[in-house]
Symmetry: C2
Subunit: 208 residues, 2 copies
C-alpha cells in the first residue's frame, strides 16, 4: 500500500469547501439474526439525498448535515427489534483538512425525507459520547458548553472517564446530537462526535 | 444534575500527573448468548494491576499503559468464540486536562500479567481506527506518521472517510495499537485512539 500524505492539508482549513458532513456507523444487534436485522435496516433507508457506502466494517453517509442525521436515525430505528439488545456506534464528523468535495449526492429535497416514517418507532436509549474539537487549544470550554446544554435538555445522566452519559428516548437523543453538531460547527472548523447508543439492555429485563 | 466546569483545566496540561492511561470499551458478540460471553470474559481478566469498573454502557480500565493494553487484549481474546461475529469498540485515552490522579491501583507487577494466557488464542481481525491528537494545530502530520508506520508494519488495508482500516491477527493489531499509543504520547499531551475491531465476519462464511 502507498504511504498517505497530508502535507497539502492545513489545520483550520476544511478539505471540503461544500461543507460536507458525514457519519460512519455500525449496528450490533446481539442476536443470532444480526445479518437479517442489519441488511433489512440498511435497505429500508431512503438515501436519495446523501452519498452512502457500506464496507466490511461499517456504513458511511455523507451530505448536508440534516440529511445525514435523518438517514442515520432512520437506519437505527429500522434496526430496532423489541427485546433485542443493540448498540449503534457512530463517528460523526465535519471539516477534516484531509477531506474533499467528493462522495456526495445532489440533494433531491430539502426535507428530512425519512422522518415521517419514523414517528411511530420510539424506544429508550442509554449511551455515551465524546466530542473532539480538533486543532484548537480552546476545546475544553467547548466540551463544557455542550455537556451543560445537554443537562438543560435533560438527556445527560452523568459523566465518566472519557465520556458523557446519555439517557432519553431515541428521538430526544438524536435531536440533542444534531444540536451538538451545530454548536460544534459554530465553534471550530474540524470536529468529531463519537457516540454509542444502547437499547434493550439485559439489565432492564432482569428488573422487570 | 449539576453543570460541569472545566474552568480549572488548561489545554496542554494533563489532569493526571501520574500519567494514568485508560480505555473505555464494549464488546458486542452478535449472538443470543451475548450476556454469558461478555460476563465470562470480563470475569476472566486479571485486573490486579489496574483500576476497573463496568457500568451499563461499557467497561473502563485505568493504569499504566502496558497494563491497560494487557487487560484490554485479554478481555477481547477471552470473549472470542469460533463462528460468533463480534465487535470490540474502544476509546483509549491519555492526558485529558479534565482527568486526575484518582481511580487507579498500585501496580502489583511490572509484567503484562495476562499475556502468558493469551498466546494460545489467535484469530484474524479487520477494523477501523482514528486518532485524535487534541489541542494542537500540528495534528495532521502526527496522523500521517501513525498511518504510514502501520503501512510499514503491514496492518493497514486502506483508508476511508473518517478512519483508517486495519487487517491482521489480533496480536499484530494490538501490538500496533500499543505502538500508536506511544507515538502519540511522544507527540502530544492529550490524545484519543478510537478503534473498532471485528472478528468472524459473516462474509467470510459465505466465501468459504
Amino acid at each position: 500500500m502507498n504511504y498517505v500524505s497530508y502535507q497539502a492539508c492545513h489545520a483550520g482549513v476544511p478539505g471540503s469547501k461544500l461543507e460536507i458532513a458525514g457519519v460512519r456507523f455500525n449496528l450490533s444487534p446481539m442476536s443470532d439474526q444480526f445479518v437479517d436485522i442489519i441488511l433489512d435496516s440498511i435497505n429500508k433507508v431512503d438515501v436519495s439525498n446523501i452519498w452512502s457506502q457500506t464496507d466490511h466494517t461499517s456504513t458511511v453517509y455523507r451530505g448536508e448535515a440534516s440529511h445525514v442525521f435523518d438517514a442515520l436515525k432512520a437506519c437505527h430505528l429500522y434496526a430496532y427489534r423489541p427485546g433485542v439488545h443493540m448498540v449503534l456506534e457512530a463517528t460523526i464528523s465535519k471539516g477534516c483538512p484531509g477531506d474533499g468535495d467528493f462522495d456526495f449526492n445532489q440533494i433531491q429535497s430539502s426535507e428530512k425525507i425519512n422522518e415521517s416514517n419514523l414517528c411511530a418507532i420510539n424506544f429508550p436509549i442509554i449511551g455515551k459520547f465524546s466530542v473532539y474539537p480538533m486543532g484548537s487549544d480552546h476545546y475544553m470550554p467547548i466540551i463544557e458548553k455542550i455537556v451543560n446544554y445537554g443537562i438543560d435538555q435533560n438527556v445527560i445522566s452523568g459523566t465518566g472517564h472519557y465520556v458523557t452519559f446519555l439517557d432519553g428516548t431515541v428521538h430526544e437523543i438524536y435531536r440533542y446530537l444534531e444540536e451538538v453538531f451545530h454548536l460544534l460547527d459554530k465553534s471550530v472548523s474540524h470536529f468529531v462526535i463519537q457516540v454509542s447508543l444502547l437499547s434493550n439492555l439485559p439489565e432492564d429485563e432482569i428488573n422487570e
